[in-house]
Symmetry: none
Subunit: 230 residues, 2 copies
Amino acid sequence: MNKQIKVLVIEDDPYICELIILYAEKNGYIVSTANDGMTGLEMFYDCSPDLVILDIMMPEMDGWEVCKEIRRFDKTPIIMLTGKGESYDKLKGFNLGADDYMVKPFDPNELMARINAVLRRAYPMLGTNEIIALPELKINLQHYKVIYKKQEIVLPPKEMELLYLLTSHSNQVFTRQQLLEKIWGLDYEGDPRTVDVHIKRIRDKLGNANAYWRVKTIRGVGYKFEVDNQ
Amino acid sequence: MNKQIKVLVIEDDPYICELIILYAEKNGYIVSTANDGMTGLEMFYDCSPDLVILDIMMPEMDGWEVCKEIRRFDKTPIIMLTGKGESYDKLKGFNLGADDYMVKPFDPNELMARINAVLRRAYPMLGTNEIIALPELKINLQHYKVIYKKQEIVLPPKEMELLYLLTSHSNQVFTRQQLLEKIWGLDYEGDPRTVDVHIKRIRDKLGNANAYWRVKTIRGVGYKFEVDNQ
DNA sequence: TTTTATGTTCACTTTCCGTTCATAAAAAGA
DNA sequence: TCTTTTTATGAACGGAAAGTGAACATAAAA
């Protein structure tokens, strides 16, 4: 399996921390958080992450200083979180060696895209972990492409996310509630049956039964993407 | 092993100079800088760089004059740096023989990508050529020319840039936001639907469906230029 | 200046995705 | 077997997202 990628979030707003954790873990990253600059630096040297997400506006030691300090001896990629779309800030960030930036408030999906892009740039040898390759099923999240039996299948966003989440955690059972939280968001308040419908549509498109893998219902619990080992 | 590539930066803003030095050296280039046009020209004849990065807005002797002067006897590739909101400068730059341009403020990674592209184009022996050549579609960015089905198509600057960005990253999905950032500039704040209109115009001119390639909409995400492999 | 070309926005239309609901089917328990 | 619970399925509705045509502003060209 691929090396687990570690992400360090240095951000004083607990809500944003939560948000990033939620999405980053969905993408299979290991996330640590620090609530201020000093702690962030300590944790940086402590756990040597593969990527740092760094808020600029923090009390005491702000993001600029943390960035500068990290860059003194290290080139670990850094994504800065900036408050407003001040182009001067962006320039300053790049000048200090930041690799990318995000303007708050941001779309978490976009942040994930940028994380992936930065990681690809920094560690080309890792190969992207956004690709699922199984017999008769290839998923390329970057190209938004699903190929089933040599043929391209077009999936709407929700079905795509659902399928990717399940396949990237094969054999793991998810409750409807978990799926709703991870894909629809923490604050979604709707019918859990919605998941069923999307599962059905995925099954329709991919065929339900297969010699190698299948979307399986765990009655009373939820769903899993089952893959035969070897 | 490889020849060390020399880059000359002619730019009066020390901040931007530093930024470029930081990134260019990270990419293994040898960087010299000049803070005004006259000095720039002297250094050009002095150290004969492989690539020039040239700011337009400079006191005394501006970038246009430097570019013209260099082009009198030399075809060393030139990347122009234009300020925001001087879009017409691009065409003028190409007419004077510039090879590419960047709008300030820019993403340094993007600049590096363009440097690499320009170098590949200028010194094909160093790598593969970067001109777009597909069945029924040739794009020559240097001459602002698109040839569709043996016939030359005239595209306005924005459409040209959009098409080139998409084709040079075929199959990769771009969000509207990404396209705006890369083409309109980092700090552009306008309607993302503007992209749609340009996409439509490109489609009108190139035909949307094609046996070999097509501009594809990824609903809920953005656009990609899809090319059939093989 | 006038004329033309380009970029942007807006209003309107079309397409299609997400959700809900009603009903059928399946599984579990009695 | 019958009942209850859970899931599957088909259809329908509302609305979001993209397509589209045109108007407008501005820049370039004549």
